[in-house]
C-alpha cells in the first residue's frame, strides 16, 4: 500500500505527496498531459523534441542542469505517445532547488534559437541511432502505420520521419508550450524524505503564481474497428527473416486491458511461456520470440515478434504462431498457469515499488490516468481475472480480421 496525500493549487495543478523517511533523498516528478498522439500528422516527433528543449533554459534560469547538479541532483525525462515525464532526484535538504527549476520551466521557457538548432540535430542523431542505423530498426514504425489508419498512434514518439524534426521552427515551439505546458495539464509528485506541510508551502510558493492557462481538450480520432487482416512484406538488408504480428486490444482503463496483459505473460513472458517453449525449444522455428503489448492509454496493440531460424519458411512460422494461439483458445488455461502469471505480476509490482523514484513516477502516471490510487488497486484487478475471461477475450482479440502481420525478409 503506497500512502500519499493529494491537493490542488488554485491554478489547477494537482500535487501528490508521498513521504518516505527511510531515504535521504527526495524526488520530484512532473508529468505533462501531452504526447505524440497530440501532434499534427505533418509535424510528428514534436512532443519529444520539445522535451529536449525543456532543458535549454527557462525564462529566469539560463540552464536547468547545472543548478541541479550543484545541489547534488540528477534528472532525466521521457516522452511516450501519451505523455511527457520529467523527474529528478536530489538530497532531501535541497528539495527547494528542484521546485525552483521545475516551476520556472512551467512558467515559461527561454525559447532560444540556438537550443532549438542544436536539439534538432541531437534528436536526428537519436533517431538514426535507434531507428535507422540498426537492423530491423524501422519495423515498429512500419507496424504502427499498418495497424493504425486513423489514430495518431500510427507514428512513433520519435516522429514519422527525420524531416518533420528538421523542419520545426521556433514559433511551433512557442505555440506548443502555450497549449500544453500549463498547470492544468500537469501533475506534480514529490516523494521521499519530505513532509506534506513542507511540500504544501513550497508548491504554493513556486508553482502557485503560475497562470492557470487553458485545460487542453484532447480530441483524438478514434481508430475504426479493423475488418480484414492486413499483411505487409518488407525486404531489407538484415541477416535473418523476422515475423511481426499485432492485434488491437483495449484502452488502459478498460477491465479487459488486464486480461490482455496477463495473456501476453502466458504467451511470451518468460522461459516457461507457451510461445517460447513450443516454437523456440520444441519446434525450433524461431531463435527468439516475444509477446508484449504497447501499454498505451488509448487502445493499444498486443504484439508477437520473433526471428526465424535460418531456412524456416515464413508462412510456416506464421501458421505455427497461430496454431499455438488456437491451442490456447481450444485447450484453455489451467489454474496453475493462471496463478503463475498472477504471482509474476505481484512480484513485478513489488520490485517496481522498491525505489522511491519509481513510486513517484507511478503515482504521477496513475494520477494522469485519473486517480493515483489506481496504483494501490492494480494488483486486485489482475487477481480478479478468470481463465474463462482470458479465453473469451482471446477469441475476440485473436480474430484474423483484427490482425496485422509483417513478413520482414532478409535480402539474400
Amino acid at each position: 500500500m503506497i500512502l500519499y496525500e493529494k491537493f490542488t493549487l488554485s491554478n489547477g495543478l494537482s500535487v501528490i505527496v508521498h513521504e518516505d523517511k527511510s531515504t535521504p533523498m527526495a524526488v520530484i516528478d512532473v508529468i505533462y498531459d501531452v504526447g505524440a498522439r497530440d501532434e499534427n500528422p505533418g509535424k510528428t516527433g514534436f512532443a519529444h523534441l520539445f522535451e529536449h528543449l525543456m532543458f535549454g533554459g527557462s525564462i529566469n534560469i539560463p540552464d536547468y542542469d547545472e543548478p541541479l547538479q550543484m545541489a547534488g541532483g540528477e534528472n532525466n525525462a521521457f516522452t511516450t505517445n501519451d505523455l511527457t515525464n520529467y523527474y529528478c532526484q536530489l538530497p532531501a535538504e535541497n528539495i527547494e532547488t528542484a521546485f525552483w527549476l521545475e516551476s520556472d520551466r512551467m512558467l515559461s521557457l527561454a525559447f532560444s534559437e540556438k537550443s532549438l538548432d542544436v536539439q534538432r540535430k541531437v534528436v536526428c542523431e537519436e533517431f538514426k541511432e535507434h531507428y535507422i542505423n540498426k537492423p530491423y530498426g524501422d519495423a515498429s514504425s512500419k507496424m504502427r502505420e499498418l495497424a493504425y489508419t486513423t489514430h495518431p498512434y500510427r507514428w512513433m514518439t520519435i516522429g514519422k520521419e527525420l524531416k518533420h524534426v528538421e523542419d520545426v521552427v521556433l514559433q511551433d515551439v512557442k505555440n506548443f508550450f502555450a497549449k500544453h505546458y500549463t498547470p492544468a495539464n500537469a501533475v506534480l509528485v514529490v516523494a521521499g524524505n519530505i513532509t506534506v506541510e513542507q511540500v504544501k508551502r513550497l508548491a504554493e510558493k513556486w508553482f502557485g503564481p503560475i497562470p492557470a492557462g487553458e485545460k487542453y481538450d484532447r480530441n483524438v480520432q478514434v481508430e475504426p474497428t479493423q475488418t480484414a487482416p492486413r499483411l505487409l512484406e518488407v525486404n531489407a538488408k538484415v541477416p535473418l527473416n523476422a515475423l511481426y504480428k499485432t492485434w488491437h486490444i483495449y484502452p488502459r482503463l478498460d477491465k479487459r486491458y488486464y486480461v490482455c496483459d496477463l495473456m501476453t505473460e502466458i504467451l511470451g513472458g518468460s522461459g516457461s511461456s507457451r510461445l517460447f517453449q513450443a516454437l523456440v525449444k520444441e519446434k525450433k522455428l524461431f531463435s527468439n520470440i516475444e509477446c508484449s503489448h504497447y501499454g498505451s492509454t488509448d487502445a493499444g496493440l498486443l504484439s508477437i515478434e520473433g526471428k526465424l531460424v535460418e531456412g524456416v519458411d515464413m508462412k510456416l512460422a506464421d501458421a505455427a504462431v497461430l496454431e499455438e494461439i488456437q491451442r490456447l483458445l481450444d485447450g484453455g488455461i489451467t489454474d496453475d498457469e493462471l496463478q503463475k502469471v498472477k504471482n509474476k505480476t505481484e512480484s513485478m509490482l513489488a520490485f517496481e515499488d522498491m525505489s522511491v523514484m519509481s513510486r513517484a513516477t507511478s503515482l504521477a502516471m496513475y494520477e494522469l490516468l485519473g486517480d493515483a490510487n489506481l496504483m494501490n488497486t492494480e494488483l486486485e484487478r489482475y487477481q480478479a481475472v478468470t481463465a474463462e475471461e482470458l479465453i473469451a477475450e482471446g477469441r475476440i482479440v485473436f480474430d484474423d480480421n483484427n490482425s496485422n502481420t509483417i513478413y520482414y525478409f532478409a535480402e539474400n
Binding site: T23, P24, M25, I59, I61, D65, E66, P67, Q69, M70, A71, G72, G73, E74, Q89, L90, P91, E93, N94, T97, F99, W100, S103, V118, R120, K121, V122, V123, C124, E125, E126, K128, E129, N133, Y136, K205, W206, K237, V238, P239, L240, S270, G271, S272, S273, V280, K281, K284, S287, K307, V309, Q339, K340, K344, S347, A350, F351, D353, M354, S355
Partner: protein, 432 residues
C-alpha cells in the same frame, strides 16, 4: 514578490556525512562466506552466488558463457521447462551472467517464497546435465543473435577496441566468432561445470528484507556442497595490475562495417591501471569532469553545443585486472572526424587550464549526491560491497573515495590530465 532569478540556498552535498551500512557476515559449514544486508521495506530479496568461473578460466572460446547460460537448461530430474516453470510459478527471477573472472547465478524473489526456490537453485549448480539437444539449440540461436549484432557499428566497435587493447588471446580482448559456437561440445561444458561450479570457489551475497532463518536456509542448501571458500583462490592478480601499462601508440583505425551506415561508432582509449593504483580514485573525479556525466565537458561541447551526437561518455572499464580509459560515442557519419578533434581539444583544455572552483564544486556535489542516492536500498548497498570485496578492497576504500571527491584540488586534476590525457597515448577506432 518571488525572485525567480535567485537560486534557493543549498546545502553543499560535500557537507554530507556518507555512511556505508556494514554487512553481516556468516560462514557456511563448507567454509563459503556469505555477506548480507538486511534492510528495506518491501518483502523482497536477492541472493547471488558468485563463482570464479568466468571466461578467464576457460580453455576454449565461449565455454564459460555457454556453461553459465545452460545451467538452467536441465538437471537429471528436471527439464529446462520444469526449472523455468518452478521459478516463474513463484514470480521469481533466476538469472545467470558470465563475466571475465566471475560467473553468477542470482535469484530475485518475494522473501516468502525462498524456501521452495533455494533447493532448485542448489540443483542447477550441482546437477546441471548439459544435454546435446540443449547445446544444439543454444549454438544455433547464439549464432543467429551474433549475426544480427555484427550489423551494429557499436557492437563491432566494442569487440575490436578490446581486442586492440588487450590482444585477442587475453580474456578481456578475445571475442566470440560463429565458428567458436560450432566447435562447442557438451564434454567441455561438463568439465568446466565440474571444476568451476561443483568444485568451484564461491562467495554469496544476499540483500533485502531477510527472513530470521536466512543463515539456516542458505547453509542447509549450500553449506553441504563441495564448494570452496573464495579466499582460497589465489588470484592475487588484482594488485599486479596497479602499474600504469605501456600504451600502444599511434593506432588510428577506420572500418566500414556497413556501406549504408549513417553513424560511426567512435572509441578512443588508453590502457589504465586498476583500482589499486593511487591515482585511480582521483582520476574518477577527472573523468567525471571530462565525460562522466550529463554536465561533462564532452557532453557540453559535442552534444549540447555542436549536436554531433545523442550522447558521449568517458569511463574507466570495470575490470579486476588491467583496464582502460575509454571515450565512446555514436556520431553522424559526416561529423565523426570533427567530433574526434573536439575530444582531443577537451583533453588539451584539461591539461592546460585549471578547472574553475565553481565547476569543481558542482562535480563534487554531483558525485556525492549520486553516491548518497546510490546507497539507498539494500540491493544498491550490497552491490557496492560486492564491488569492494571482489576487488580485494575494504571499506576504507569507500571512505577514501569520498575524501578524494571532497578534497582533490584543481592543480592535482590538471597534473593528472597532463599525466594521462596525452593524445599519443590513445588509440582511435571508428566503425561505420
Amino acid at each position: 514578490m518571488l525572485n525567480r532569478t535567485k537560486a534557493p540556498h543549498i546545502k553543499d552535498a560535500i557537507e554530507f556525512d556518507l555512511h556505508l551500512k556494514p554487512y553481516d557476515k556468516f560462514v557456511l559449514d563448507n567454509g563459503v562466506e556469505v555477506f548480507a544486508i538486511n534492510a528495506g521495506a518491501q518483502e523482497v530479496l536477492q541472493i547471488e552466488l558468485v563463482f570464479f568461473a568466468g571466461n578467464s578460466y576457460e580453455t576454449q572460446h565461449t565455454v564459460a558463457a555457454a556453461t553459465n547460460h545452460l545451467l538452467k537448461n536441465g538437471t537429471s530430474t528436471k527439464s529446462a521447462f520444469q526449472i523455468n516453470e518452478h521459478f516463474d510459478y513463484y514470480g521469481a527471477y533466476c538469472t545467470r551472467a558470465c563475466y571475465n573472472e566471475t560467473a553468477t547465478v542470482s535469484l530475485h524473489t518475494l522473501s516468502k517464497h525462498l524456501p521452495v526456490l533455494l533447493p532448485v537453485m542448489k540443483e542447477i549448480i550441482t546437477d546441471a546435465v548439459f544435454s546435446e539437444e540443449e547445446l544444439a539449440t543454444f549454438k544455433q540461436n547464439s549464432k543467429q543473435k551474433l549475426s544480427v549484432n555484427l550489423k551494429k557499428c557499436d557492437f563491432v566497435a566494442n569487440r575490436l577496441i578490446d581486442a586492440y587493447l588487450y590482444g585477442e588471446q587475453h580474456p578481456y580482448g578475445k571475442y566470440t566468432k560463429a565458428e567458436d559456437y560450432d566447435v562447442l561440445n557438451t564434454d567441455a561444458l561438463k568439465k568446466h561445470f565440474q571444476q568451476y561450479y561443483v568444485q568451484g570457489y564461491c562467495v554469496i551475497f544476499v540483500a533485502g528484507k531477510l527472513p530470521d532463518d536466512i543463515e539456516h536456509q542458505i547453509n542447509k542448501n549450500f553449506g553441504t556442497l563441495t564448494l570452496k571458500n573464495h579466499t582460497g583462490l589465489n588470484t592475487g592478480n588484482e594488485k599486479s595490475f596497479n602499474e600504469v601499462p605501456e600504451p600502444v601508440t599511434g593506432s588510428k583505425k577506420r572500418i566500414v562495417n556497413d556501406e549504408t551506415g549513417l553513424q560511426g561508432a567512435i572509441r578512443i582509449t588508453r590502457p589504465f591501471p586498476n583500482r589499486h593504483h593511487p591515482d585511480f580514485q582521483k582520476v574518477m573525479v577527472l573523468n567525471t569532469v571530462f565525460g562522466g556525466f550529463f554536465g561533462s565537458r564532452l557532453m557540453a561541447n559535442i552534444r549540447e553545443e555542436k549536436g554531433y551526437t545523442y550522447g558521449i561518455h568517458s569511463y574507466v572499464q570495470n575490470h579486476l585486472g588491467p583496464t582502460a580509459w575509454m571515450i565512446s560515442t555514436e556520431a553522424g557519419k559526416d561529423v565523426c572526424e570533427a567530433a574526434i578533434q573536439e575530444i582531443y581539444k577537451e583533453m588539451k583544455v584539461l591539461r592546460e587550464e585549471l578547472i574553475d572552483e565553481e565547476e569543481l564544486l558542482l562535480v563534487r556535489n554531483y558525485l556525492i549526491g549520486i553516491i548518497l542516492g546510490d546507497l539507498d536500498g539494500p540491493f544498491h548497498i550490497i552491490g557496492r560491497w560486492k564491488s569492494i570485496l571482489l576487488n580485494n578492497l575494504d571499506e576504507q576504500y569507500f571512505y577514501d573515495s569520498i575524501q578524494t571527491i571532497k578534497n582533490i584540488s584543481a592543480e592535482e586534476l590538471r597534473e593528472l590530465a597532463v599525466k594521462y590525457l596525452q593524445p599519443e597515448a590513445f588509440q582511435e577506432l571508428v566503425v561505420i
